[in-house]
Each structure stands twice: as C-alpha cells, then as structure tokens.
C-alpha cells in the first residue's frame, strides 16, 4: 500500500542528493578549470625531452596533491549517491513495489545506476576526470525528473504487473548506465584528439586510451541492451499478444541497438576507428536520451507509462 510519509522522506533525500551533486559538480568544474601548475609543466617537459617514445596512450592522469579538488568532488559524489539511492529505495517502499514503474521512478533509478557505475568504476580505473560530466548529468536529470516527471506513487496497471517489469526495466537502466559512462569517455576522446593546451585536457589519458575505455564500457551496455530488447519482446508477447509490433518504444529500442551494433563494427573497421566511432557512440547515447524523454512524453504508443497526465 502506498505510504505518503515514505514518499516525502524519499523526496527529501532526492532533493538533498541533488544539492550535493551540484556541489560535487562545482568541485569537479574547478578541477577542470584549474590551470596547469608549474611543477607539472616541468615534469612534462622532462618526459618529452628524455623519452620521446612515450605515446599519449600510455600517459596517466597525474595524481598527488594537485588532484585535491577532484578528490573532494568524488567524495561528495559518493555522499550524494548514497542519499540518492536511499531516496530511490524509500520511493519503492512508498509504492510497495520496485521503484521503476513510471518515468519519474525510472529516472531516479537509472540516474542512480549511472552514478553508481561511475563510483564503482573507480575500483577499476581512475575515472575522476569524468566527474564533471557525470555529476552534471545527474544534477540536470534529477532536476528535470523531479520538476517535470514527478507523480505520487500509484499501483501498477495490469500490464505492468509482471516479474518482467523487474527484469526488463532494471536491465535497461543498467545498459543506460554503461552507455552513459561510455558517452562521457567518447566526448573526452573527441576533445582530446582535437584540443590541447588546456591543463585539464592535457592531463587526460590519450585519445586512443579513452577510446578503448569507452569501447569496453559501451560493450557492457550493449550486452545489457540486447537483453533488454529480448526481455521486452518476451514480455510484450505475454501482455499484448505479440512479441514485436513496431510500437514507438520498440522502434527506438531497436534503433539504439542497431546504432550501437554499428558502433561496435566501426571500432573494428579500418577508417572508422577513432573519431568516427566515437561519434557513433554519442549518436547512440543521444538516441537513448531522446527515447527516454521525447518519446516517452510526446509519442503515442502502448508504452505510455510515464504516469503523466495527458
């Protein structure tokens, strides 16, 4: 049974997390804007003079005291994320079911997953240079979600009463999370291969290292997305009597899948690897955002579960 007080605690937690994300964003932004400090310049010159064979691909983001702002940003991101997850869980308690049955809830959950993947990716690689992108994304989307998509918790319509809701939608959110991280890496790859002179850009790993990272993350996204597509078809077969009907949401899920298949091929194709494949990853992610916002709100179809008044 819906419980109003849990929902208001949830909103409180979500608003607080939004505020902390915003502060984390500012910390990361200052880190980006910071100018190169002299010690770093000297270090670089030495490397350039002495080594010569050092390729950009093997450069590492410099650690040390200079990265303090990024550290602060990351700590704040973790704090915001904990609040965010708490808010999402409380929303689930308030609704008495998984918290991803309408647009607002799906936004809460998938943004939590995006940030969660960023946070845990830290165990794998130092990706704090993506902090400004991820916290920016989280702040903006949480803002949009709470202001434009919020609806109070309601029970599930019959078509959504299925364990496939738990699987299909959650896996879609996971896929989205990995694609989001990949999109950040691809954006930086494009910047890295073009611009330089900015301290932040020069501190980044090399363009091809960024490309490799983006590919690995996006491939995880692709696996989850493939599963989403198939699980969605199985569910549609149960609920609507056909596994595929080119409903608007199905169309867009398919379009995204095909674009990313193109991206994976591009990565493996001479003449497409590098900048072009990065653009494809970004087109794919743009399609995901479009699918979630514009398609959900304005397009007509069976998947009209945004919960928003018409």
């Amino acid at each position: 049974m819906p419980d109003v007080s849990w929902d208001s605690y949830s909103l409180l937690a979500v608003y607080s997390s939004m505020a902390v994300y915003a502060i984390a964003f500012i910390a990361f932004a200052f880190d980006v804007a910071r100018r190169r400090d002299p010690a770093e310049v000297r270090e670089r010159e030495l490397v350039a003079a002495g080594g010569g064979t050092t390729t950009t691909a093997t450069e590492t983001p410099t650690r040390g005291p200079r990265r303090n702002l990024a550290k602060v940003g990351f700590a704040l991101t973790v704090l915001a994320w904990v609040l965010h997850v708490a808010g999402t869980v409380m929303r689930g308690i308030a609704a008495g079911r998984v918290p991803w049955a309408n647009m607002y809830e799906f936004a809460l959950t998938s943004i939590a997953i995006i940030v969660g993947i960023f946070v845990f990716a830290q165990l794998w690689r130092d990706l704090r240079f993506l902090g400004v992108y991820i916290t920016g994304l989280a702040t903006v989307f949480l803002g949009v979600a709470t202001v434009n998509f919020y609806v109070s918790p309601t029970p599930l319509p019959p078509a959504l009463q299925s364990y496939w809701l738990v699987i299909h939608v959650f896996v879609a959110a996971l896929g989205t999370g990995f694609f989001a991280l990949g999109s950040g890496l691809s954006i930086l790859q494009l910047i890295r291969s073009r611009a330089s002179g900015l301290a932040y850009v020069d501190r980044l790993p090399g363009a091809s290292a960024l490309e490799d990272l983006s590919y690995r993350v996006s491939v995880m996204g692709f696996i989850f997305w493939t599963f989403t597509l198939i699980a969605g078809a199985v569910w549609a077969e149960h609920a609507w009597g056909r596994y595929w009907g080119w409903d608007t949401k199905e169309v867009w899920t398919f379009v995204i899948w095909v674009v990313y298949a193109g991206y994976i091929h591009a990565r493996a194709t001479r003449g497409w690897r590098g900048t072009r494949s990065a653009w494809l990853q970004l087109i794919g992610f743009a399609a995901i955002l479009f699918n979630f916002t514009i398609v959900n709100v304005y397009f007509k179809g069976l998947h009209t579960y945004s919960g928003l008044p018409e």
Partner: protein, 569 residues
C-alpha cells in the same frame, strides 16, 4: 622513404618494420576478418583497375557488399529507416491514428502514400535495406565459418623470430629444459599448444570467434523465423459480450488475418464463451482512485465436444490447441430495446460502446433502418458513473458502474446503408440526417438510466435501457515459429557474451641464451593481454603457486599496448 636519420632511429625503424611483419603474419593476415577489419588483410588496389572483366566486377561488387564498411553503412541506414515509423502512425499498430493524420493533413496524403509512411516496416525500401544487410551478413559469415572450422583444427602458428616487440615481452630465468614445463603451465591455463624447436606457441579463445559466428547466424535464424511465422500463422479478434460466445471460424470473427500458407479452414476448431469479465479498480489510493488493477475473463472453452472452464488475464494468456488467447480491451455494452408507435419491438440488442477515456466514458451508435416511421440513428455516450458538470453536460467520474447513464442524440433521415459502401457499426453518417433530439435541435438529448424507458421524439416510439454488461475484446492467434525466434534470441545472447567477453590471444615462450622469452599477441580486443603474460612469467619463475589467482590488477595506470600496426590514426 627514409630520411636521413641517426643510426639508433634506423634501428628502431627496422625493429618496427619487423614487428609489423610479425603482427601481419600472425594477426594482420587474419583470414577470418573482412579485408577492411582492423586486423584484416588490406585489399590491394588492383581491384578497381580497368582490366576487370564481368566476373571481376561481380567479385569486386560482392567484396564491397560483404565489407565491414558496407555493414556499418547499412546498419546506420536501417536505424535511420526505422525512425519515420515512430513519427507517423502505422497501419499495423495504430490504424485510428492513420485515419486521424490523413484527415488532418489532406494535402500530404499523396506523400504518405508515395513513401509508404503508414507501412514503413513492410515497405520495399525498408525491406531492401534489411535484405541487403542480411545478404552482406551471410556473405561475410560463411567464409569466416569455413576459416574458423579450419582454424579450430589447425595447430597454433609458428613462433615469431623476434618476440621483443610483442606485447608484454620479458625474460625469466630458464633454459630449453624448461620449455616442457612452460607448455604444461600453458595447457593448464586452457591454451592449445604446439612445440617449435626450443619454443612453445600457444593460443586460446577460439570460443570468441565461435560466439561471434553464432551471434551473426542467429540474426539470420531470427529473421527467417519471423518471416516464416507470419506466413504460417493467423491472427484474429472478436469482441464478445458477457454471456455470449464465438467459435473460431471466419464468419464469427471481427477480424481475421491468415498467413500466406494458411487458409481459413486451417483454423483450430474451438469455441469460447465469456461467462464474466471481472475488473478490479483501485479504491484506496487517493492518487489512483479508479485505476484498473486487474482484468480477468472467465471463459468456457469448447473443443471436441467437450467444455471446460478457463481464465484469461493480462500477462497470462490462455493457450488452446496451440493458439493463444489474450485480453486486448474491454468496455460496456448497454442492452437496448426500441418499440415503434404500434408497440412492436423493432430492436433488441446489446450494443458495445467504445471507451474514450480512463473513466470509461463510452461512445456508441444505434442504427434503426427498419420498423419505425423513418430511419433513425442514435449516437451518444454511456457514463458508468455519471455526474453533471456546471455546464450542464455529463461526464463520468469513475470507471465502475456507480451511476450508469445513457445520453443519446437522435437523428432521422437516410442512414446511408443502401449505398453499398460498407459502414462501421461504430460510426453514424449524419450527412443526410437531421438531428431531432440533442444539442443542435429543439429537443434535449435523451437521458436514460438503467431500467428506464423514454419516448423517442416525434411520436416515433420508445426506447428502453434494459441493462448493462461488460464486453472483452479477445485476440486469438497462432505463431508457429515463435519458439524458433526465442531460441535464436537465446543463441544470440550466448554468442554475444562469448564473443565480447572471451579474450582471444597467443602466447609464446622461447628458450634463448638470456633465458625464457615470453610475449603475447592479442587477436581482437584484449585489454588484459599484458597481465596474462606477467601472470605466465610469475608462474614460470615459480614464485607464485600455480593455483593462486593472478595478482589483483585493478587500477592499472597504464594501458597495455596494442599490436604494433594498430595505430588508430
């Protein structure tokens, strides 16, 4: 080519060239890859030359079609081609939307038709892209299957002369007598090995390629199964009121689409009787009062002379004789009788009304061509829970039957039934009719509650609202290849996982005067190759028991290098 450069630079260049040769011999010349794959053999330019005969041109065209570049372009075209179908309503998924769009944009109808924008997914241009993609896919995959079949039974390739420029190159203490031991370690790690003199060559990850081929082959299986399924299946719908039934024959169905290879005689011979449609609405959550929570259709199935009960719910179809029955929609059907001025009953039917909103305000039409002094048409709304608005109009405030009310406008004149043009039973063509009761006439619309009888205008007779039942729209269909599609999808995921997650790599251990030289070569994406060489080195040095897991490698700061000829720019 070479500019004046220092000796050391020259040596470096020679090294690089040697490495490139090694890489090409072992990875570059990957016959399993199309020629424009980053690991493929670049095509020599001769292909486009003027000496090509017709066969040469065909071969050239085929090579273009089956290239990775073409695959990318076709994939992107497919993605793009799918988009208009989400912008313009499709006949298959939204027939009412199609009508509305055409009515709203009469000037654009020709364009919609010319580009088949209402049938995007069956249009020739969409099919053309799909077919080209499939041909490209098959043309690409079949030679790769042949090569892979051979590769799986071949031995790992010869050890390159120089390992020093390959990935993870290092030397550990040891001599020729340790090569046996190295081979044992590699085998235990799952490598296939081959001895070449004082060296061992090892390869693993054949499943990666197998997975990739299964993935691509599954796509073909799925598409073929979908196409075959539409040819061998059927799909039908029937609106059925509580207390009534229908049998699965063309005459008794509202719509019936049979595949190319199915005739109406092949339909399974069972009957369905709807006893009751049970709908549960939310009553407690103030934000969702009236939201439907559950639909259950209680039915009797008659097959082979035997009748048994069954249930159809949303998400839980009922399966009868290999066909599936689904609840598609529901609504209210008032039972209405009309009596003429002489007291004779001229109409006694249960009339389905179509729901227009979440509160089940429903729109319906009654046509009375015979028995009255003139032809009469009635059109209006049924409100399950009627409430009067300030404007005087009615609205439904709840979808269940709390305060049912019928509000009908009455028309007299020509119903247009004799024109020979088929008419929808849900639409009243009022062009040749005059409104005699309702907003545009002197008389108010007829308001009838259940059990009530009211007079028709002009002494035409009376109309009674006898009662109300629910109806369900039931979809019955059979898709014989559904299982194939699902099987293909499962194989596709399995292939994808193998293909993206299993690393394919070669490792070499070679005894030299300096000790045992080790190095590796990636085939395809393999971020952990360097780690694998390090791990092997540790095992060979013996400072790491064989059964210990490899050292935790998270957070590596440097990127392992890629094969030497692999410069992304």
């Amino acid at each position: 080519m070479s500019s004046r450069s220092s000796d050391s630079a020259k040596a470096a260049k020679a090294d690089a060239a040697a490495a490139a040769k090694v890489a090409r011999d072992d990875a570059g010349h990957d016959p399993m890859r199309p020629s424009d794959h980053v690991d493929g053999t670049p095509q020599t330019e001769a292909a486009g030359g003027p000496r090509l005969g017709p066969v040469g041109w065909l071969r050239f065209a085929w090579r273009q079609l089956t290239s990775m570049r073409t695959a990318i372009v076709l994939l992107l075209m497919l993605a793009l081609a799918a988009v208009p179908g989400s912008l313009v309503p499709q006949r298959s998924s939204d027939p009412n939307g199609v009508i509305a769009v055409r009515d709203a944009n009469p000037d654009l109808v020709w364009l919609y038709d010319a580009l088949q924008l209402h049938d995007v997914y069956t249009s020739p241009w969409f099919s053309a892209i799909t077919i080209l993609l499939l041909v490209s896919l098959v043309g690409c995959v079949i030679p790769r299957m042949r090569h892979h079949w051979a590769a799986m039974r071949a031995r790992p390739p010869k050890t390159p002369a120089r390992l020093s420029r390959l990935v993870g190159f290092q030397t550990v203490p040891g001599d020729a007598s340790d090569v046996d031991r190295a081979e044992g370690v590699l085998r235990r790690l799952g490598y296939r090995t081959e001895r070449y003199g004082d060296s061992v060559s090892a390869e693993r990850g054949y499943l990666r390629e197998t997975g990739n081929l299964i993935f691509h082959a599954s796509i073909v299986v799925i598409v073929v199964a979908i196409v075959a399924g539409s040819g061998f299946g059927f799909q039908s719908q029937r609106l059925v009121v509580e207390g009534e039934g229908f049998s699965l024959s063309g005459a008794s169905l509202d719509t019936l689409n049979t595949g190319q290879w199915v005739s109406a005689d092949d339909l399974p011979g069972f009957g369905i009787h709807l006893d009751e449609l049970d709908v549960v609405y939310e009553t407690e959550n103030v934000d969702a009062i009236g939201q439907p929570l559950d639909f259950t259709a209680f039915v009797q199935v008659t097959e082979d002379g035997d009748t048994h009960p069954g249930q159809i719910r949303i998400n839980e179809p009922l399966r009868v004789q290999g066909s599936d029955l689904y609840l598609i929609s529901n609504g209210y059907a008032p039972q209405i009788t009309v009596t003429n001025a002489d007291g004779t009953v001229v109409f006694d039917e249960i009339v389905p009304f179509l729901a227009q909103d979440n509160e089940m305000t429903s729109l319906g039409v009654i046509k009375l061509p015979d028995g009255l002094a003139e032809q009469v048409g009635l059109q209006g709304f049924f409100y399950p829970s009627a409430a009067q608005l300030d404007t005087g109009a009615y609205a439904s405030y709840y979808p269940d039957l709390l305060n049912p009310l019928l509000s009908l406008q009455v028309y007299t004149g020509d119903l247009g039934l004799d024109d020979g043009v088929p008419q929808s039973v849900y639409q009243l063509d009022t062009e040749d009719m005059e409104q005699v009761a309702g907003r545009d006439s002197a008389e108010p619309a007829l308001l009838i509650g259940p059990g009530e009888t009211v007079d028709l205008p002009d002494g035409l007779g009376t109309i009674s609202f006898e009662g109300i039942r629910r109806y369900a729209v039931i979809d019955v269909h059979r898709d014989v290849t559904q299982g194939w599609v699902l099987g293909g999808a499962i194989a596709l995921v399995a292939g994808l996982l193998a293909s993206l997650l299993i690393p394919r790599r070669r490792l070499w251990v070679k005894a030299t005067e300096q000790g045992l030289e080790l190095a590796g070569l990636a085939r395809g994406e393999d971020p952990r190759l360097e780690g694998a060489v390090d791990d092997l080195a540790r095992r060979l040095r013996g400072d790491d028991a064989d059964d210990l897991p490899p050292k935790h490698r998270w957070g590596r700061a440097t990127e392992p290098g890629r094969a030497a000829d692999d410069d992304p720019k």
